[in-house]
């Protein structure tokens, strides 16, 4: 009976939620995407252009270190091919246009791009999206697993710590959490790799064994893959858990001391229900509003840690692209991140409204 009631109230909530001027709100927000992203794209493009030199000079310098000398004519014609000889604003307009509108693999694309290609990764020698795509699945997969780990570990701990304030468990979780935050990821990664090497003779560098890279991941070697995930999960996972634990714990402590909690308790509502249905729902608020960045980090992963652990995800690609001034690749990755942040923020705003009925978007109280 009670279960049915709560189900009904959930549906009611949902209906109520969408009755509000949310649709209009979402539409307005999406319209705002356009100027926001335009602004971001300008910023991205010009910031990437800021360092002296361009891809051609970086490329030629790299060739020189390998003993290959390139003459000035070749450099000039390369610049012309890549359009790097145009004024920056023209480069920008072409870049935006191509990155959004030009479909790959059409005759038009081939024809047009045989001379001026604006979504071409110089360093990889192919379409930027194909470079991004190469690592997208893995990046999302790895980051999702790590995030799941973060929330699954930190939220129960936070709830426990807040309901058992100043207990041994509270202190232990606080110490571990602080350590996780205080120790820079890359150092923890190095230490764990060292320990792994000491104990098992294998440093577990990278996400895959050579065998997997050659034959692919199958059921028989999935265990090895999970083994390789241990260090990244611990390293990246612990870095985020402390923040979540502390904020949820503090919010929870606030909520459990509030009048409504006392009232509910006085009315005989079960402790579990008080905590989970009321306090927790309010306490999770800041965490949810922080979800805006999740989509973006799902896309790029953790750059520094990924480099230390030799994980083949998006972050290091961006880093390398910036280093070698592979500007369309770097630009594309940063733009996608920006788009995802913008969308993520919208989602988290909607989620917040759903979680906390007091939040209104249409302006004015009700």
């Amino acid at each position: 009976m009670e279960e049915k009631l709560s189900k009904n109230s959930f549906v009611e909530n949902l209906k109520e939620f969408f009755r509000r001027d949310l649709v209009q709100y979402i539409f307005k927000r999406i319209l705002w995407f356009i100027p926001t992203l335009l602004l971001i794209s300008i910023l991205v493009f010009f910031v990437i252009q800021l360092p002296p030199g361009d891809y051609v000079s970086a490329h030629i310098a790299a060739l020189a270190t390998e003993g290959e000398l390139v003459d000035a004519d070749y450099a000039a014609s390369m610049r012309e091919d890549y359009g790097l000889d145009l004024p920056v604003w023209q480069q920008y307009i072409k870049w935006v246009k191509d990155i959004i509108w030009t479909p790959s693999d059409t005759a038009y694309y081939r024809l047009y791009h045989s001379h001026h290609n604006w979504k071409y990764s110089f360093a990889y020698g192919r379409d930027v999206w194909s470079v991004v795509n190469d690592r997208l699945g893995l990046t999302i997969g790895v980051t999702a697993i790590i995030m799941l780990f973060q929330y699954l570990v930190s939220i129960p701990i936070a709830v426990y710590a807040s309901t058992h304030q100043y207990s041994v468990g509270d202190y232990v979780s606080a110490i571990i959490g602080f350590l996780g935050t205080a120790i820079p990821n890359f150092i923890l990664a190095i230490v764990l790799m060292y320990l792994s090497y000491k104990w098992t003779g294998n440093a577990n560098v990278g996400l895959f064994t050579q065998e997997m890279l050659k034959n692919g991941i199958h059921l028989y070697n999935f265990g090895d893959f999970l083994k390789r995930m241990i260090i990244p999960i611990i390293v990246i996972g612990t870095s985020g858990t402390c923040g979540i634990i502390r904020s949820v714990r503090a919010q929870m402590l606030d909520e459990v001391a509030k009048q409504y909690t006392l009232t509910a308790r006085a009315k005989g509502v079960s402790e579990g229900k008080i905590i989970m249905k009321y306090c927790f729902r309010a306490a999770i608020n800041p965490t949810v509003s922080g979800l805006g960045g999740v989509l973006s980090s799902l896309f790029s992963g953790s750059t520094v840690t990924a480099m230390v652990l030799n994980m083949q995800i998006q972050g290091p690609v961006l880093y390398k692209a910036l280093q070698s001034q592979d500007m369309y690749l770097a630009g594309a990755i940063v733009m996608v991140q920006a788009v995802l942040v913008v969308i993520g923020v919208l989602f988290s705003d909607i989620a917040l409204a759903f979680l906390d009925p007091r939040i209104r978007y249409s302006g004015g109280g009700r």
Binding site: P52, S114, N117, N202, V205, N310
Partner: protein
């Protein structure tokens, strides 16, 4: 069709040795009919003595008789399954096959066993995959001697206007197609002269006729013989020894539909190949069909006919060819694989087709130190190791790892160079004064620098050839190395500098003297603070400006710099044969001569005309380049070295630094004491095709 192996066959290695010897000793025969083996047999006895002229490793190679061929089990399986021709049909016959018996130091090779893979670190830049795999026209030994490699032999006419390359009959591309003179004419007329490979600038095939650039005429004499004809004499230094001229072939059967005849890449008239008539769009579409992704024909041409080792599917003549399996087929892949070439044309002394190992694996790493961890875990077999890590790693790994030392051809380490063409006359004049350079050299306590920067590992030295290298001279190495602050100061005062109230010297006109050292990518971050204290102690105010490498290059190209420190294109190298540009101001290549090099490279259109000893260097270089007589060339080179010794345009503070590799002890035939240099193709000198793994 099984070829009968002639028991009298002489090893091609011997042929190689002697045809080189022949080159050094006599005029050479213009008749292309001589096979390498015959040449070897007839000329070997009378010419051996001359081999010492540039080293005698080549003549150490023994005569080897190959009685038959054997192959790797994995290939034998394919032969049995009918998917691959028999080994006798895949490799050239005994007269044409290359028998590899010694390593680049002359040490004899073990007969290996088949199987396994060699795990290496990341493939690196554009040239990474080529280092362990590229087979070039000639190959060098550590003493500077060389022998024909892909080609069976070479000869030149008495007047050096005609060079003949004899190919190996029966040699195949990695896809089984015959490797013939057509592949040479195709490369030259369709890829090179059209500038499709982006390297039409190669000096080896170019000459000046009536003040204009002209290119050699290539003729196909028969399927296995070609001749290069020049109007003027083309001496070895400018042709076969030119470091750029590493190959002259391309797989015609594979590339013919990838060559356009367009405005930018017009067909070059020749008697062997017709215009393809293809537009650039068609060519790019054809490339797409071959799974080659290129945005422009410029990218495509450079990829398939220059850095061809990086493109999966392009046939090569290397021991290892890039895998075509997606995920392992790019140097950027986490695991890049190069598989055994089943048609490789080299065998060991027992007739076993090389290479021994099934594949090379290149493992991507993203941070320094990961390779060391992976080496310790046994995931990588060869790594370059820093001095500080050697002892600990060897102590931990015991007999399972061994050390290999690579010699350096650099002229000292911790070089600094000044901009002799600085637009500010104050600086240019000061730098031109040898006393200033002497002061900068003796003002530094090298013993202390050695302790501080290398734990005493590198001894004090100077910008001079290292022991064991061409031109080594102990006096030179010790010149201006005695630490003497007072003398340094008096030398500086002798240069007309005036001590200012701040304790630093100023120019005579009262303007500040500030030595801003450019460095790139943090290359001088560690060393600069050490040198700074010495420079300041003798009254030279200085600063460090660290730039990204591209910005550094730009500053140098724009002549917008005062001095450089740390890694830069320094003076020195194995010898002029290796690459002449670091020794003489002839290119836009080295910092020590600044704009003087631009002057030569642009034929006087830009840059600053060299005078005095710098002009003499250019003069001597031209003489060196245009001479066939080895003794004369050595003399010119010695004179060039002498001028360097007198001037010391760059100063080095410590002796040259080689580098070290750790390899798993399972790897056999991995030579020690190799030399890292551009003409030697760096790690190519290891000869990966002869490495094998055994307990």
């Amino acid at each position: 069709m099984r070829r009968k192996i002639n028991s009298k066959a002489v090893s091609l290695v011997l042929a190689a040795a002697t045809s080189f010897t022949m080159l050094a000793g006599c005029g050479g025969a213009a008749t292309p009919s001589n096979t390498g083996a015959e040449t070897a047999a007839t000329e070997a006895t009378e010419q051996t003595a001359d081999a010492t002229q540039t080293g005698d490793i080549a003549s150490n190679m023994e005569e080897v008789k190959v009685d038959g061929f054997a192959e790797a089990p994995m290939l034998a399986d394919q032969v049995a399954a009918g998917t691959l021709p028999a080994v006798e049909e895949r490799v050239p016959d005994a007269n044409n096959v290359f028998v590899e018996t010694v390593d680049a130091t002359g040490a004899p090779l073990e007969i290996g066993t088949y199987g396994g893979v060699i795990n290496l670190g990341p493939a690196g830049g554009s040239w990474g995959l080529s280092r362990p795999s590229l087979e070039s026209i000639i190959r060098y030994n550590t003493d500077g001697s060389y022998y024909p490699n892909v080609i069976k032999s070479f000869e030149h006419s008495d007047d050096y206007t005609v060079w003949t390359f004899n190919l190996r009959e029966g040699m195949k591309w990695s896809d089984g197609e015959p490797f013939t003179a057509d592949d040479i004419t195709f490369w030259y007329y369709m890829c090179h002269l059209t500038n499709y490979d982006s390297k039409k600038s190669w000096a080896a095939l170019k000459e000046e006729v009536d003040g204009e650039d002209a290119w050699a005429t290539l003729k196909k004499v028969d399927d296995y013989t070609v001749t290069w004809t020049f109007v003027n004499p083309k001496y070895p230094a400018d042709f076969i020894e030119n470091g750029d001229f590493k190959w002259c072939w391309a797989p015609a059967h594979y590339l013919s539909d990838l060559i356009p005849d367009s405005e930018d890449y017009p067909y070059v008239e020749n008697e062997y190949w017709q215009s393809t008539g293809l537009s650039e769009e068609e060519v790019l579409a054809n490339a797409q069909k071959k799974n080659i992704d290129a945005a422009t024909v410029k990218d495509l041409g450079k990829a398939v006919s220059y850095n061809f080792w990086n493109v999966a599917g392009v046939p090569t003549v290397s021991a290892f060819v890039l895998s075509t399996v997606p995920g392992n087929s790019s140097k950027d892949d986490t695991l890049c694989i190069m598989d055994r070439n089943p048609y490789f044309w080299k065998v060991d002394a027992a007739g076993n087709q090389l290479p021994y190992v099934d594949a090379l694996h290149f493992n991507q790493t993203s941070e320094d130190g990961q390779d060391l961890l992976m080496f310790r875990s046994g995931e990588i077999d060869v790594i370059t190791v820093a001095m500080k890590d050697i002892a600990a790693t060897l102590a931990d790994l015991g007999d399972s790892a061994s050390l290999r030392e690579w010699g350096s051809t650099a002229w000292g380490s911790y070089q600094v160079t000044f901009n002799y063409t600085n637009p500010d006359k104050n600086y240019a004049d000061l730098f031109a004064n040898a006393d200033f350079r002497q002061a900068m050299s003796i003002g530094v306590d090298r013993e202390q620098v050695s302790e501080l920067l290398t734990d005493g590992f590198l001894e004090p030295g100077q910008c001079a050839p290292a022991e064991g290298n061409v031109g080594y001279d102990p006096d030179w190495e010790a010149k201006w190395t005695e630490y003497d602050v007072d003398k340094a100061k008096s030398l500086l005062e002798g240069c007309g500098l005036v001590m200012g109230s701040d304790g630093f010297y100023k120019f005579a006109d009262g303007s500040d003297l500030m030595l801003t050292f450019l460095a790139y990518d943090g290359g001088a971050d560690e060393s600069y603070p050490v040198f700074e204290q010495y420079y300041k102690a003798i009254g030279i105010n200085c600063a460090l400006k660290n730039l990204e490498v591209a910005a550094f290059d730009e500053a140098v190209d724009n002549n917008d710099w005062v001095a450089v420190m740390g890694p830069h294109t320094a003076v020195g190298g194995a010898s002029l044969k290796d690459r002449a540009a670091p020794f003489v101001p002839i290119a836009q290549a080295a910092e020590w001569y600044g704009e003087y090099g631009t002057y030569y490279a642009t034929k006087g259109a830009q840059g600053v005309e060299p005078t005095g000893d710098l002009a003499k260097l250019v003069e001597l270089y031209d003489k060196w380049r245009l001479t066939s007589d080895e003794t004369e060339r050595d003399n010119y080179q010695a004179e060039i070295y002498k001028i360097h010794k007198e001037n010391l345009w760059s100063i080095a503070y410590l002796k040259a630094e080689g580098y070290f590799e750790l390899i798993t002890s399972k790897l056999h035939n991995y030579a020690d004491n190799l030399v890292s240099a551009d003409c030697y193709q760096y790690s190519n000198m290891t000869h990966y095709e002869v490495l094998f793994k055994a307990e």
